[in-house]
Symmetry: C2
Subunit: 118 residues, 2 copies
DNA sequence: TGACATATATGTTATTGACATGTATATTTC
DNA sequence: GAAATATACATGTCAATAACATATATGTCA
Protein backbone atom coordinates (compact mmCIF):
# COMPACT_ATOMS: atom_id res chain seq x y z
CA UNK A 1 0.00 0.00 0.00
CA UNK A 2 1.35 3.39 -0.97
CA UNK A 3 2.25 5.83 1.82
CA UNK A 4 -0.70 7.95 2.82
CA UNK A 5 -3.16 5.52 1.31
CA UNK A 6 -4.18 3.35 4.23
CA UNK A 7 -7.78 2.54 4.68
CA UNK A 8 -8.29 3.93 8.14
CA UNK A 9 -11.93 4.13 9.04
CA UNK A 10 -12.86 5.14 12.55
CA UNK A 11 -16.00 3.11 13.02
CA UNK A 12 -18.09 3.04 16.16
CA UNK A 13 -18.61 -0.58 17.07
CA UNK A 14 -22.22 -1.77 16.86
CA UNK A 15 -23.32 1.73 15.82
CA UNK A 16 -26.03 0.15 13.71
CA UNK A 17 -27.90 -0.87 16.87
CA UNK A 18 -28.52 2.58 18.35
CA UNK A 19 -29.11 3.89 14.85
CA UNK A 20 -31.81 1.29 14.34
CA UNK A 21 -33.40 2.11 17.68
CA UNK A 22 -33.46 5.77 16.71
CA UNK A 23 -34.98 4.89 13.34
CA UNK A 24 -37.63 2.83 15.13
CA UNK A 25 -38.47 5.74 17.38
CA UNK A 26 -39.74 7.39 14.22
CA UNK A 27 -42.64 4.94 14.34
CA UNK A 28 -43.31 1.27 13.74
CA UNK A 29 -42.27 -0.06 10.36
CA UNK A 30 -40.98 -3.10 8.52
CA UNK A 31 -37.40 -4.13 7.93
CA UNK A 32 -37.00 -3.04 4.37
CA UNK A 33 -38.21 0.47 5.12
CA UNK A 34 -36.26 0.65 8.33
CA UNK A 35 -33.17 -0.04 6.24
CA UNK A 36 -33.78 3.21 4.41
CA UNK A 37 -34.31 5.26 7.55
CA UNK A 38 -31.27 3.58 9.01
CA UNK A 39 -29.08 4.50 6.06
CA UNK A 40 -30.16 8.09 6.51
CA UNK A 41 -29.38 8.07 10.24
CA UNK A 42 -25.96 6.54 9.71
CA UNK A 43 -25.24 8.59 6.63
CA UNK A 44 -24.55 5.85 4.13
CA UNK A 45 -26.14 4.85 0.84
CA UNK A 46 -27.35 1.47 1.99
CA UNK A 47 -27.10 -0.97 4.87
CA UNK A 48 -26.60 -4.72 4.90
CA UNK A 49 -30.04 -6.31 4.87
CA UNK A 50 -28.79 -9.66 6.11
CA UNK A 51 -27.31 -8.24 9.26
CA UNK A 52 -30.27 -5.93 9.73
CA UNK A 53 -32.82 -8.74 9.85
CA UNK A 54 -30.56 -10.78 12.08
CA UNK A 55 -30.27 -7.80 14.43
CA UNK A 56 -34.02 -7.25 14.43
CA UNK A 57 -34.61 -10.85 15.38
CA UNK A 58 -32.06 -10.80 18.16
CA UNK A 59 -33.45 -7.52 19.49
CA UNK A 60 -36.88 -9.09 19.52
CA UNK A 61 -35.60 -12.06 21.49
CA UNK A 62 -34.29 -9.63 24.07
CA UNK A 63 -37.56 -7.74 24.23
CA UNK A 64 -36.15 -4.57 22.69
CA UNK A 65 -38.54 -4.63 19.77
CA UNK A 66 -41.80 -6.44 19.14
CA UNK A 67 -43.14 -7.45 15.77
CA UNK A 68 -46.06 -8.94 13.94
CA UNK A 69 -46.85 -9.85 10.37
CA UNK A 70 -48.81 -7.31 8.40
CA UNK A 71 -50.75 -8.93 5.59
CA UNK A 72 -53.38 -6.25 5.31
CA UNK A 73 -51.42 -3.65 3.40
CA UNK A 74 -50.72 -3.76 -0.32
CA UNK A 75 -47.92 -5.68 -1.88
CA UNK A 76 -45.51 -8.05 -0.23
CA UNK A 77 -46.38 -9.32 3.24
CA UNK A 78 -44.19 -7.59 5.76
CA UNK A 79 -43.19 -7.96 9.37
CA UNK A 80 -43.74 -4.76 11.29
CA UNK A 81 -41.37 -3.85 14.11
CA UNK A 82 -41.99 -1.55 17.02
CA UNK A 83 -39.83 -0.25 19.85
CA UNK A 84 -40.83 -1.59 23.28
CA UNK A 85 -40.43 0.33 26.55
CA UNK A 86 -37.24 -1.62 27.15
CA UNK A 87 -36.14 -0.48 23.71
CA UNK A 88 -36.64 3.16 24.66
CA UNK A 89 -34.51 2.61 27.77
CA UNK A 90 -31.82 0.91 25.74
CA UNK A 91 -31.75 3.81 23.31
CA UNK A 92 -31.23 6.15 26.27
CA UNK A 93 -28.35 3.99 27.48
CA UNK A 94 -26.80 4.10 24.02
CA UNK A 95 -27.16 7.88 23.89
CA UNK A 96 -25.32 8.22 27.19
CA UNK A 97 -22.58 5.94 25.96
CA UNK A 98 -22.31 7.76 22.65
CA UNK A 99 -21.95 11.07 24.43
CA UNK A 100 -18.98 9.59 26.25
CA UNK A 101 -17.49 8.26 23.02
CA UNK A 102 -17.95 11.68 21.46
CA UNK A 103 -16.06 13.23 24.34
CA UNK A 104 -13.26 10.66 24.16
CA UNK A 105 -12.75 11.38 20.48
CA UNK A 106 -12.94 15.11 21.08
CA UNK A 107 -10.28 14.77 23.80
CA UNK A 108 -8.06 12.87 21.38
CA UNK A 109 -8.47 15.55 18.73
CA UNK A 110 -7.78 18.34 21.23
CA UNK A 111 -4.61 16.59 22.29
CA UNK A 112 -3.57 16.21 18.67
CA UNK A 113 -4.35 19.83 17.76
CA UNK A 114 -2.53 21.14 20.82
CA UNK A 115 0.77 20.15 19.34
CA UNK A 116 -0.31 20.50 15.74
CA UNK A 117 -1.85 23.95 15.37
CA UNK A 118 -3.33 24.48 11.92
CA UNK B 1 -30.68 -8.81 32.19
CA UNK B 2 -32.75 -6.29 34.07
CA UNK B 3 -34.31 -3.43 32.06
CA UNK B 4 -32.01 -0.47 31.89
CA UNK B 5 -28.97 -2.53 32.76
CA UNK B 6 -27.48 -3.43 29.43
CA UNK B 7 -23.80 -3.11 28.95
CA UNK B 8 -23.76 -0.77 26.00
CA UNK B 9 -20.33 0.61 25.36
CA UNK B 10 -19.83 2.76 22.31
CA UNK B 11 -16.25 1.92 21.41
CA UNK B 12 -14.34 3.22 18.42
CA UNK B 13 -12.92 0.23 16.63
CA UNK B 14 -9.11 0.05 16.60
CA UNK B 15 -8.94 3.28 18.58
CA UNK B 16 -5.82 1.98 20.26
CA UNK B 17 -3.89 2.39 17.01
CA UNK B 18 -4.28 6.18 16.58
CA UNK B 19 -3.88 6.55 20.33
CA UNK B 20 -0.58 4.72 20.16
CA UNK B 21 0.60 6.83 17.24
CA UNK B 22 -0.27 9.95 19.22
CA UNK B 23 1.60 8.58 22.23
CA UNK B 24 4.59 7.88 20.01
CA UNK B 25 4.54 11.43 18.72
CA UNK B 26 5.49 12.38 22.26
CA UNK B 27 8.92 10.91 21.54
CA UNK B 28 10.55 7.53 21.08
CA UNK B 29 10.05 5.07 23.90
CA UNK B 30 9.71 1.40 24.76
CA UNK B 31 6.54 -0.67 24.92
CA UNK B 32 6.04 -0.75 28.64
CA UNK B 33 6.26 3.00 28.97
CA UNK B 34 4.17 3.56 25.86
CA UNK B 35 1.48 1.53 27.57
CA UNK B 36 1.32 4.16 30.29
CA UNK B 37 1.14 7.10 27.89
CA UNK B 38 -1.44 5.17 25.90
CA UNK B 39 -3.67 4.61 28.92
CA UNK B 40 -3.57 8.33 29.55
CA UNK B 41 -4.49 9.18 25.95
CA UNK B 42 -7.36 6.73 25.93
CA UNK B 43 -8.44 7.55 29.43
CA UNK B 44 -8.28 4.13 31.04
CA UNK B 45 -6.31 2.69 33.95
CA UNK B 46 -4.33 0.21 31.90
CA UNK B 47 -4.10 -1.30 28.44
CA UNK B 48 -3.61 -4.89 27.32
CA UNK B 49 0.13 -5.46 26.99
CA UNK B 50 -0.29 -8.51 24.82
CA UNK B 51 -2.26 -6.69 22.19
CA UNK B 52 0.00 -3.65 22.46
CA UNK B 53 3.17 -5.57 21.61
CA UNK B 54 1.41 -7.39 18.83
CA UNK B 55 0.27 -4.04 17.44
CA UNK B 56 3.75 -2.57 17.71
CA UNK B 57 5.21 -5.48 15.80
CA UNK B 58 2.58 -5.29 13.06
CA UNK B 59 3.04 -1.53 12.78
CA UNK B 60 6.75 -2.07 12.41
CA UNK B 61 6.21 -4.60 9.63
CA UNK B 62 4.20 -1.97 7.79
CA UNK B 63 6.86 0.68 8.29
CA UNK B 64 4.74 2.81 10.62
CA UNK B 65 7.20 2.56 13.47
CA UNK B 66 10.83 1.56 13.64
CA UNK B 67 12.55 0.01 16.61
CA UNK B 68 15.84 -1.10 18.03
CA UNK B 69 17.06 -2.74 21.19
CA UNK B 70 18.37 -0.47 23.87
CA UNK B 71 20.80 -2.26 26.16
CA UNK B 72 22.67 0.82 27.29
CA UNK B 73 20.22 2.15 29.80
CA UNK B 74 19.73 0.80 33.30
CA UNK B 75 17.58 -2.16 34.15
CA UNK B 76 15.76 -4.48 31.80
CA UNK B 77 16.78 -4.43 28.15
CA UNK B 78 14.08 -2.69 26.17
CA UNK B 79 13.05 -2.27 22.60
CA UNK B 80 12.64 1.39 21.70
CA UNK B 81 10.01 2.40 19.22
CA UNK B 82 9.87 5.51 17.08
CA UNK B 83 7.31 6.95 14.69
CA UNK B 84 8.44 6.95 11.06
CA UNK B 85 7.42 9.53 8.46
CA UNK B 86 4.82 7.08 7.23
CA UNK B 87 3.61 6.87 10.80
CA UNK B 88 3.11 10.62 10.93
CA UNK B 89 1.06 10.43 7.75
CA UNK B 90 -1.00 7.58 9.12
CA UNK B 91 -1.71 9.57 12.27
CA UNK B 92 -2.96 12.41 10.09
CA UNK B 93 -5.22 10.00 8.22
CA UNK B 94 -6.59 8.71 11.51
CA UNK B 95 -7.22 12.25 12.73
CA UNK B 96 -9.22 12.99 9.59
CA UNK B 97 -11.23 9.83 10.03
CA UNK B 98 -11.81 10.50 13.71
CA UNK B 99 -13.10 13.96 12.93
CA UNK B 100 -15.65 12.33 10.67
CA UNK B 101 -16.60 9.79 13.34
CA UNK B 102 -16.98 12.62 15.81
CA UNK B 103 -19.32 14.38 13.40
CA UNK B 104 -21.34 11.21 12.76
CA UNK B 105 -21.90 10.71 16.46
CA UNK B 106 -22.71 14.38 16.93
CA UNK B 107 -25.28 14.13 14.13
CA UNK B 108 -26.81 11.12 15.82
CA UNK B 109 -27.05 12.97 19.12
CA UNK B 110 -28.53 16.06 17.49
CA UNK B 111 -31.16 13.91 15.86
CA UNK B 112 -31.93 12.26 19.16
CA UNK B 113 -32.09 15.54 21.07
CA UNK B 114 -34.29 17.15 18.45
CA UNK B 115 -37.16 14.96 19.45
CA UNK B 116 -36.07 14.56 23.05
CA UNK B 117 -35.47 18.07 24.43
CA UNK B 118 -34.07 17.95 27.92
C1' DT C 1 -41.77 -13.10 -19.92
C1' DG C 2 -38.02 -11.07 -18.41
C1' DA C 3 -36.08 -7.65 -15.59
C1' DC C 4 -36.12 -5.27 -11.54
C1' DA C 5 -37.75 -3.84 -6.94
C1' DT C 6 -39.58 -5.32 -2.63
C1' DA C 7 -39.14 -8.19 1.47
C1' DT C 8 -37.19 -11.51 4.53
C1' DA C 9 -33.67 -14.72 5.78
C1' DT C 10 -29.34 -17.85 6.47
C1' DG C 11 -24.32 -19.23 5.69
C1' DT C 12 -19.47 -18.15 5.77
C1' DT C 13 -15.41 -15.77 6.92
C1' DA C 14 -11.78 -12.30 8.40
C1' DT C 15 -10.88 -8.88 11.80
C1' DT C 16 -10.79 -7.36 16.25
C1' DG C 17 -10.09 -7.19 21.10
C1' DA C 18 -10.53 -9.57 25.73
C1' DC C 19 -8.46 -12.75 28.46
C1' DA C 20 -5.05 -16.13 29.75
C1' DT C 21 -0.53 -17.60 29.85
C1' DG C 22 4.61 -17.80 29.25
C1' DT C 23 9.43 -16.06 29.84
C1' DA C 24 13.04 -13.41 31.87
C1' DT C 25 15.29 -9.87 34.52
C1' DA C 26 15.33 -6.08 38.08
C1' DT C 27 14.05 -4.31 42.45
C1' DT C 28 12.26 -4.28 46.88
C1' DT C 29 11.16 -6.27 51.33
C1' DC C 30 11.49 -9.38 55.10
C1' DG D 1 19.56 -14.39 50.57
C1' DA D 2 14.85 -15.80 49.62
C1' DA D 3 10.47 -14.37 48.29
C1' DA D 4 7.52 -11.17 46.40
C1' DT D 5 6.68 -7.77 43.22
C1' DA D 6 7.53 -4.75 39.22
C1' DT D 7 9.38 -4.27 34.71
C1' DA D 8 9.56 -5.82 29.92
C1' DC D 9 8.34 -8.45 26.05
C1' DA D 10 5.69 -12.05 23.81
C1' DT D 11 2.26 -15.80 22.09
C1' DG D 12 -2.20 -18.58 22.34
C1' DT D 13 -7.13 -18.82 22.34
C1' DC D 14 -11.72 -17.45 21.73
C1' DA D 15 -16.19 -14.83 21.19
C1' DA D 16 -18.30 -10.95 19.03
C1' DT D 17 -18.78 -8.25 15.11
C1' DA D 18 -19.52 -7.01 10.44
C1' DA D 19 -18.62 -7.83 5.42
C1' DC D 20 -19.89 -10.55 1.82
C1' DA D 21 -22.37 -14.18 -0.52
C1' DT D 22 -26.42 -16.58 -1.26
C1' DA D 23 -31.36 -18.14 -1.01
C1' DT D 24 -36.36 -17.49 -1.29
C1' DA D 25 -40.64 -15.52 -2.88
C1' DT D 26 -43.71 -11.98 -4.43
C1' DG D 27 -45.00 -7.56 -6.79
C1' DT D 28 -44.52 -4.32 -10.73
C1' DC D 29 -43.52 -2.70 -15.18
C1' DA D 30 -42.13 -2.71 -19.99
Amino acid sequence: MAPGEWEVTARVERFVEPALLLALRGGRSHGYELAERLAEVIGVESVDYGNLYRLLRSLEQEGIVSSEWDDQSEGHSKREYELTDSGELLLEAWVESLRQADERIAAFLRRYDERNPT
